[in-house]
């Protein structure tokens, strides 16, 4: 019997349903009208969120993926629709976020003719996608979508782009969906360590006097949070995290000491420089983590658990590579790890923490800085909130002062550092996790890079809590100009609109706080609000983020306050 024939557009929607996709972020346009026409009949199965700019769609898909662990999906039309996705795709590539971007393309016969809204999407996105494909026949739809989802989520996740020409959307095809199973020789990720490597790693940890674990996002991506905690507890080993690893380990745990990196906590950075063994799990030793590589972790043997073999030894020498899944590796290591007292090492770490004066300065009485706002949300929300940030000073304060009791609770643009990421990513996170309190911390600069998405919050009734930390400056650049460019403030001052009027225009309840004494009641009011809420905190104009490791310096050179 002949199989039922459907259009390529419908085949695409059915394929998404076969991949259990429930939510899609998108924006229609000329070449993608056939897909949106088919979507009209799938509204009961696919929840489409209409954004206000395609960049909002891709960042929302990223936020959705990172909050839920599922693949985020976005739609955009050909030409400008597709090119507007670029920043988000590059961001997802840097931060290993599984997303599938579906972009339309002009009809196959019109390719290469400078047709209206034609852009060479595949070439443009090649260097920033994990995989990409242009569908020119409807029959390709189901197998390509199956492969796209497999690649986006497998191993080290990443962004996949599928371009579909207009004719492939309207042509009819037989439809059958078969999940993608790659030939074994094409499977890119497999564990590549032997028993001998595991034993050597365990022996190295067991005989260490000053070991530490660095938790990266790979722990979250592998769902290895409990396994890594078990590993740390088994060996009584102190734990720190990278920026993207935050919330993979409970911040209140006795073994957890904060974050490493340029604006990480004092103790973790100094621990790195004193450790004799570093067990790095699912992280990539970015320049923001290592500082001056030549002076990084001078006494440490490095054990690197990492699924992407291309990361092994890329920036830092690795003594024992364990190429594979973080969860499997942690489970394999734990029974081999012996509990050791290491009282001197733990005492040393407590001493470092006590010596960190930056916290007292940032939270001092009566002072309304960014830290106080982040701390108020952490205190009054009991660390239950899912925190999303934009990029800049507020991002670093959010990383330093938030508290987390649950995994997948911190979503931030790490590798690419994309301003404008925060608001749409928070929308995506709230759509993925309507059961959770989602709080966005955003600066006045970054908010205005994707301000239009307040329209999405309004139309789709996204119950998001927005905390604007407004210092009327592009604060991080201003801090660098102050510290390293003789206070030559070159184009960092912002003349801002009345944000409360903007929130009101979108029907979002809002409040402004200008003194520290109002802060707790305002944050309490925000957290008690049923739907979306906009809280503007007018913070000190020229506050600097500390601790800080100046660019090119070693982790020992960490500053806890301004040099005078």
């Amino acid at each position: 019997m002949k199989k039922e024939e459907i259009t390529g557009a419908e085949a695409l929607l059915r394929s998404l349903s076969a991949e259990a996709v429930e939510d899609v972020f998108g924006y229609p346009g000329g070449s993608i009208i056939p897909l949106y026409n088919a979507l009209y009949d799938y509204r009961d199965r696919l929840n489409h969120i209409l954004v206000r700019h395609e960049q909002g769609a891709v960042h929302a898909a990223q936020g959705y993926a990172r909050a839920s662990g599922r693949v985020g999906v976005c739609f955009a039309t050909a030409g400008p629709g597709a090119t507007n996705l670029i920043t988000g795709i590059a961001d997802a590539q840097m931060d290993s976020t599984p997303i599938v971007c579906i972009t339309a393309q002009v009809a196959k016969d019109n390719l290469g003719t400078h047709f209206f809204q034609e852009a060479d999407t595949i070439s443009i996105t090649n260097p920033i996608t994990k995989w990409s494909y242009e569908i020119t026949h409807a029959r390709e739809v189901a197998p390509v979508i199956a492969k796209a989802f497999h690649i986006a989520r497998s191993g080290r996740p990443g962004p996949v782009l599928v371009s579909i020409t207009r004719n492939a959307q309207t042509e009819c095809t037989e439809y059958e969906y078969v999940p993608h199973v790659p030939r074994p020789e094409l499977e890119k990720y497999r564990s590549e360590y032997t028993e001998a490597f595991l034993s050597e790693a365990a022996e190295t940890i067991n005989t260490a006097a000053r070991p530490m674990i660095i938790v990266g996002q790979g722990v979250t991506l592998a769902g290895a949070e409990d396994d890594v905690r078990a590993l740390a507890e088994a060996g009584n080993i102190p734990v720190v995290s990278t920026l993207l690893g935050i919330s993979a380990f409970p911040t209140g745990h006795r073994l957890f000491h904060g974050n490493v990196g340029m604006h990480g906590n004092y103790a973790p950075n100094l621990m790195t420089q004193n450790a004799d063994v570093i067990l790095a799990i699912g992280m990539r030793f970015s320049d923001r983590v290592t500082g001056n590589v030549a002076r990084y972790a001078p006494h440490a043997k490095i054990i690197h658990v990492e699924i992407d073999r291309a990361e092994i030894g890329k920036t830092v020498r690795v003594d024992i590579p364990l190429i594979g899944d973080a969860r499997e590796a942690a489970q394999a290591l734990t029974p081999r790890i012996e509990n050791r007292d290491r009282a001197d090492w733990h005492r040393f770490i407590e001493g470092l923490k006590a010596a960190d004066t930056s916290r007292r300065t940032a939270l001092r009485d009566g002072y309304l800085g960014m830290a106080a706002a982040v701390d108020a949300v952490a205190r009054l929300g009991s660390g239950e909130a899912l925190v999303v940030t934009d990029v800049g000073q507020h991002q670093m304060f959010s990383a330093l002062y938030s508290r987390f009791v649950r995994p997948r609770s911190m979503i931030t643009s790490g590798g690419l550092g994309t301003m404008g990421f925060g608001l749409p990513a928070a929308i995506g996170a709230k759509v993925a996790r309507p059961d959770r309190e989602v709080v966005l911390f955003v600066g006045d600069g970054g908010l205005q890079m994707s301000l239009q998405e307040l329209g999405t919050v309004m139309q789709s009734d996204v119950g998001l809590k927005i905390v604007l930390l407004n210092n009327s400056f592009l604060g991080m650049v201003r801090q660098w100009q102050e510290m390293f460019f003789d206070r030559r403030y070159s184009f960092v001052e912002m003349a801002n609109p009345d944000f409360l009027q903007i929130a009101a225009a979108y029907g979002i309840p809002a409040r402004r706080v200008e003194s520290r004494c109002e802060l707790d009641s305002a944050v309490g009011q925000m957290l008690a609000a049923k739907g979306a809420y906009f809280l503007e905190v007018v913070v000190e104009n020229e506050e600097n983020v500390f601790p800080m490791i100046p660019a090119g310096a070693a982790l020992d050179d960490i500053l806890m306050q301004q040099k005078t």
Binding site: N126, P127, E134, K188, A310
Partner: protein, 80 residues
């Protein structure tokens, strides 16, 4: 120190894969001095590239090429 390397990659036989390979060279600012492509099976194309690069760059480049989904296999040899 720069050396001459011969990179042999077996890639999927379809449009755009060669573009992905060359953009990995572009990203690291490595010039391709010789390039040969040949269909070796119905599904695969074998490409051979000669490039003059520092060893460290070559290692990172080969690792990146090896992690691409459209690359079936890759070998990299120093040319004397």
């Amino acid at each position: 120190m720069e050396k001459t390397y011969k990179i042999t990659a077996v890639i999927e036989n379809r449009i755009a894969v060669l573009n992905k390979i060359t953009s990995a060279f572009l990203k690291r600012h490595v010039n391709i001095e010789s390039l040969n492509t040949e269909k070796t099976t119905p599904e695969a194309i074998t490409i051979t590239i000669m490039a003059h690069v520092p060893q460290e760059t070559m290692q990172r480049l080969a690792a990146q090429l090896g992690s691409m989904w459209d690359v079936i296999s890759i070998t990299c040899k120093e040319e004397k």
